[in-house]
Every structure is written in C-alpha cells, then in structure tokens.
C-alpha cells in the first residue's frame, strides 16, 4: 500500500473488518464431521468489532472539519455476515463489502488474512484499518497482525485511542500493555486492533438500521483472486477433531454463615492451588 503524504484537507480513508460470530452459549458439534454446527447457531457482530467501529467513528468525527473521512466495512463469511455489515452501515460506515465464496470456507487465520489483504489492497489505499482485537469464537487475535504483515504495514494491538498526529500520515496511538499504557507515533497506513471495553459502543437506532438495511452490499468473490492466491488459501492449521465441553449447570451451594463459608472457601482454595 502507498503512504498518502498529501497534507491538507484530503479525506482520511478508513476501513473496518468485522466478523459475524456465533453468540449462543450452547454450541453443538456435528458428530459426523466433528465440526461446530455454525449454520444453526445464532450469530451477531463480534463484540469487540463494535469497539473498533466506535473508534473508527471517533477518528472520523475528529477530522470532520479537516477534510473528513470515509469508512469502508468488510466482512468475510457466508450471507449471514450481511447482518453485521448492515450494523456497521447503521453505525456510520459509508460502504460495505461482503467477501463470500465457497472457496473461502475452511480458511485458517492466515488464509482469512490473505483474503482480507487482497480486498483491502483492491479497495485501498487506507490510512487506518480497524479490527476487533480477537473474535469471540476462535480468540486467536492473529488475523489483524497477519493482514498487516501481508500488506507490508505496521500493526498495533490492544489500542486504547487513536488520533491524528501533527503531520499528515502520522497518528498518535495509545496501546494497552501489561505494564500500563504505551504512546506511539505510527506512520500510516496501519492496522489497529481494538479490545473489548476500551470505549462504549453506540448501538444503532431503529431508524438508522432501517436506513442502512436499504443500502446494497456488493459481494466480492474468489473470482477476483489469482490461481496462485487461491492456492495459498489452503489451511495450514487444521482442526482434526472437536468435542463439546459440558459446563457447570448450577454451582454447588456453600451453606452456613459467613464463618462457615470462609472456612469452606479456605479449604477449597488451598486444595485448588495445590492441584496441578
């Protein structure tokens, strides 16, 4: 991707990649295939993708009087992912694209990043590409950094805030790290990943959602990828088996007064800490 060095009032081009994920607490495994039954699962936009959308909107708002910004939303997945893209449109995205093809099914994180990178390059350049920190289903947090590496741009994970720097093409990024907060000056283009809880995402009103529902979302398919690119989508990390894990239906009650409860907790904690 090219760095846009133009100073002045050129609009920022922002992108956001979101994932449509299962939201149910009771997933089912197909015994025949050993895979999760996603088709039957209730799905919605990945929770921290809403935080990423909020951050993209905040950046867009901050430059409203200085050239403005546009936000383009992308999601890779089956038709159901249109619902997440419509949510992005209702929340302020200007355009949305669904990346959908049977040839994309079964992609691992690297394959997913390759598909995203292809279409981000095709629709770019972008100054900042926003993503949620990690998906609530896979919880790997790899796709953002992988996409950045494929685009040859930096990535910053665990981003708390982003604002324009003094010079065009530079951004001030605050990143949460284990020891506290790190303040970075990052040259665009870049990928930032946004964790859950760093801001308070707005939810679309019914009117905004109804308006967004009328916007057509183009579907981009594998036909736009070269044979070599398609060959590289073959998964390198393969799930060989899946089994559902039973959850505690109901906690066992610890009875008695505060003293008795404390005694039982002490005993449980002691045993639990020694257990390896």
């Amino acid at each position: 991707m090219e760095i846009d060095d133009a100073k002045g009032a050129k609009p920022l081009r922002l992108a956001i990649c979101v994932k449509h994920v299962p939201t149910c607490d009771d997933i089912e495994v197909d015994e025949a295939t050993g895979r999760i039954r996603r088709a039957d699962a209730e799905c919605d936009i990945n929770p921290c993708d809403l935080n990423a959308m909020e951050m993209a909107n905040a950046l867009k708002k901050s430059v409203a009087d200085a050239g403005g910004a546009t936000i383009m939303a992308f999601s890779m997945g089956p038709d159901g992912a249109l619902a997440s893209l419509k949510k992005c449109l209702a929340l302020g995205a200007d355009e949305a694209y669904l990346l959908s093809d049977r040839k994309f099914a079964g992609c691992d994180t690297l394959g997913t990043a390759r598909v995203l990178a292809h279409f981000l390059k095709a629709k770019g350049p972008f100054d900042v590409i926003f993503m949620g920190e990690m998906a609530s289903d896979g919880a790997t947090g790899q796709v953002g950094p992988m996409t950045a590496a494929l685009l040859g741009v930096p990535d910053v994970i665990s981003v708390a805030t982003i604002s324009c720097g003094e010079r065009a093409g530079q951004f001030i990024v605050e990143q949460h790290i284990a020891e506290g907060v790190r303040r970075l000056l990052v040259k665009s283009p870049m990928v930032v990943t946004v964790p859950f809880g760093v801001n308070q995402p707005k939810l679309p009103t019914l009117r905004m959602q109804m308006r967004a529902n009328k916007i057509a979302i183009p579907v981009l398919t594998a036909s736009e990828l070269s044979a070599d690119e398609l060959a590289r989508l073959a998964p390198k990390s393969i799930v060989t088996s899946t089994r559902a894990i039973g959850t505690h239906a109901q906690a066992e009650l610890i009875e008695g007064d505060a003293k008795a409860i404390a005694a039982k907790i002490r005993e449980l904690v002691e045993g639990g800490r020694q257990h390896v």
Partner: protein, 323 residues
C-alpha cells in the same frame, strides 16, 4: 533431527515469565536428536542472557536489534524470521501473550508457516505429529489441531506446564547476531510502565495461580479495601470486571473479560460479579471457581463450581481473620 525454537518476548519488565513454561513444552515434544533453541531479540538483548539460560536448552540465540524493541513488531518479526531462515526448525513455540501475538503472527506470514494460537497443551501423536489441544467458543469446545507446515508456529497459554528452571551454569552455547538496518513505522513516544498501577506491588493477573475477581458488589462500603487486603495476604492477584475499571477502582490491566485479558489461574474467587458472558469469557483453563454473591440466581451461579449466597464483606472479614 530438528530444532524446536522457543521465542522469548522481552517486555518492559524483562523476559516474559511464561517463557519458562514454553521451554518445558518444547522439551516435552523433543524427539531423539532434536534440539531446543531459545531465541530473543531486543535493542539490549545481551542483558537478558542469564534470565534466558534455562535448563535443558541446547542453544541461546540473542539477536541485537539496534533501536528496535517489542513495540516495533513490524521490524522485530523480520529479525526473527531472518534468524530462523537457514535452520531446520520444526516448531516455533511462544507464550500466548500480547507481547508475542503480533510478532509471531507476522513471523508466520514471513515464513509462510501455519500457526495455531492460544493452545493449552501439545501431544505427540502416534504418527509422530504434534497435536495442539485448545478450547474454542468460549471454552464450550475442545479442539485438536494439526499444522501442515514445518516450521509450524504455536503460542501456548500460561498455566499448563511447569516453568523450566534457570540453569546454574548458563546456556550451553550462545549465538549472537546483530540485525542491522531494520526499519519500523512505529516510534515509541512514551512507555508508561506504571500507568494505572498504584504504588503497591501488583501481581499480574495473568501470572497468578490464585485470582480474586471483584465486581460491582465491591463498590459498597469497604468491600473493595477488604478484597484488596485479602488478595495481598493470600498471595493472590486482584482483578475486576469491567465496571470496576470503568469507574476507576482498578487499572485496565486488571480487567478480566473479552478485553483480551484472559486469565488461567488454578483458583478464582469471584466476589460480587453478576457473571455476564463478557466477564466469564476472560476466565479460561477450567480453574476451580468459587463465587460469593447475594443473588443466588445471578449468572455467575451457572459459571462457578461453588457459590456462597452471602455478603462479600462479611465473608472477606472472616477470611482475613485467619489467612
């Protein structure tokens, strides 16, 4: 014969402690003739030589990266991939932590290597393949993965392997490299290592075997102070649900939940937390979970193994009376 590489992230506080557990995992999957190599890269990497000299490691590779540190993952990943390029590496293992996540994902791209992240344990299968076992869908499913490439990259969650000890006699052999000419688009303006933490010595919530998690219930009376005092006395880390962070009671680094701060302690005492999925998503690894809540029907009753229906303040006072 091949090499199993352990990537040791260097943070503002030195070598990431869970690296020692990854060394044990590497030794566990070593076949006859295989070698375990620890690789670290930093602007000032030589100073970590002793802290990286684990028992059972065959070689320590120290890559000096002038002006490049952990924040510059765009450049650091090139230094690591270059160092591994000419070696016969079967697996690159690293801690599943923020300090390694971006670097390892970028190394996977540079080496066109398959990657499985957030793995609990590795198992040597009958055919000699190394299976990666991990949970998925918020711990609702256990999956087994296999990597088709060599090297394959795996990040391992803390709390599943014993930590390797440091070698009394140092690493058997040290290879020093300098990665010159690295360019990063990231410049560190300020690295506020202490931001959000009070002047107390705070045990990181990701490293603790025992975590005390507090929620809204701790905002009443002196409940928070009691929880803090109890955690300190019991040698536990103090963590909180999101309202505790939003309202300034605890720093962001102490937030348990979908924020990315996922904990895997052996025991979690959950006090005054309702138990929304955004919180419970942050507790992994099937620890022993004990909740104290005034509402017996709170969501936490479906997550915790044990529940005491009581005022957390009363229970904490009793716990403090004889820690």
């Amino acid at each position: 014969m091949s090499e199993i590489v352990v990537f040791a992230p260097i943070t503002g506080q030195g070598v990431l402690p869970s690296t020692a557990e990854v060394v044990t995992a590497a030794r566990d999957i070593c076949g006859a003739g295989d070698r375990v190599i620890v690789v670290a890269a930093d602007d000032d990497v030589a100073r970590y030589r002793d802290a990286l000299s684990f028992e059972g490691v065959d070689e320590l590779v120290l890559i000096r990266t002038p002006d490049i540190t952990g924040a510059n993952t765009d450049a650091l990943s090139h230094a690591i991939a270059d160092a591994l390029e000419d070696r016969d590496v079967s697996f690159v293992l690293a801690p599943a932590s923020d300090a390694a996540r971006s670097v390892m994902a970028r190394v996977a791209v540079l080496m066109d290597a398959g990657m499985t992240a957030a793995v609990k344990t590795l198992e040597v299968a009958g055919d000699g393949d190394i299976a990666q076992l991990k949970t998925s869908f918020g711990d609702q499913a256990m999956v087994s993965c296999s990597l088709t490439t060599r090297p394959g990259i795996v990040t391992l969650l803390p709390g599943n392997y014993d930590a390797a000890l440091l070698s009394a006699s140092g690493a058997p052999s040290v290879t020093e490299r300098v990665a010159d000419g690295l360019v990063s688009a990231v410049e560190v303006l300020a690295d506020d290592g202490g931001a959000g933490n009070s002047d107390d010595e705070v045990l990181p919530i990701t490293a603790a075997d025992y975590v005390v998690c507090v929620g809204r219930g701790a905002m009443t009376g002196d409940n928070f102070e009691l929880a803090k005092k109890y955690a300190a006395k019991a040698g536990a880390a103090l963590a909180g649900s999101r309202p505790m962070i939003d309202n300034g009671w605890l720093p962001f680094a102490a937030q348990v939940g979908e924020s990315g701060t996922v904990i895997r302690p052996r025991v979690a005492l959950i006090l005054g937390v309702s138990g929304a999925i955004q919180f419970t998503e942050g507790i992994k690894g099937e620890p022993l979970t004990i909740a104290v809540n005034t509402d017996k029907d709170a969501g936490i009753s479906h997550f915790a193994k044990y529940l005491a229906v009581a005022d957390m303040g009363d229970v904490l006072k009793e716990l403090l009376s004889d820690v």
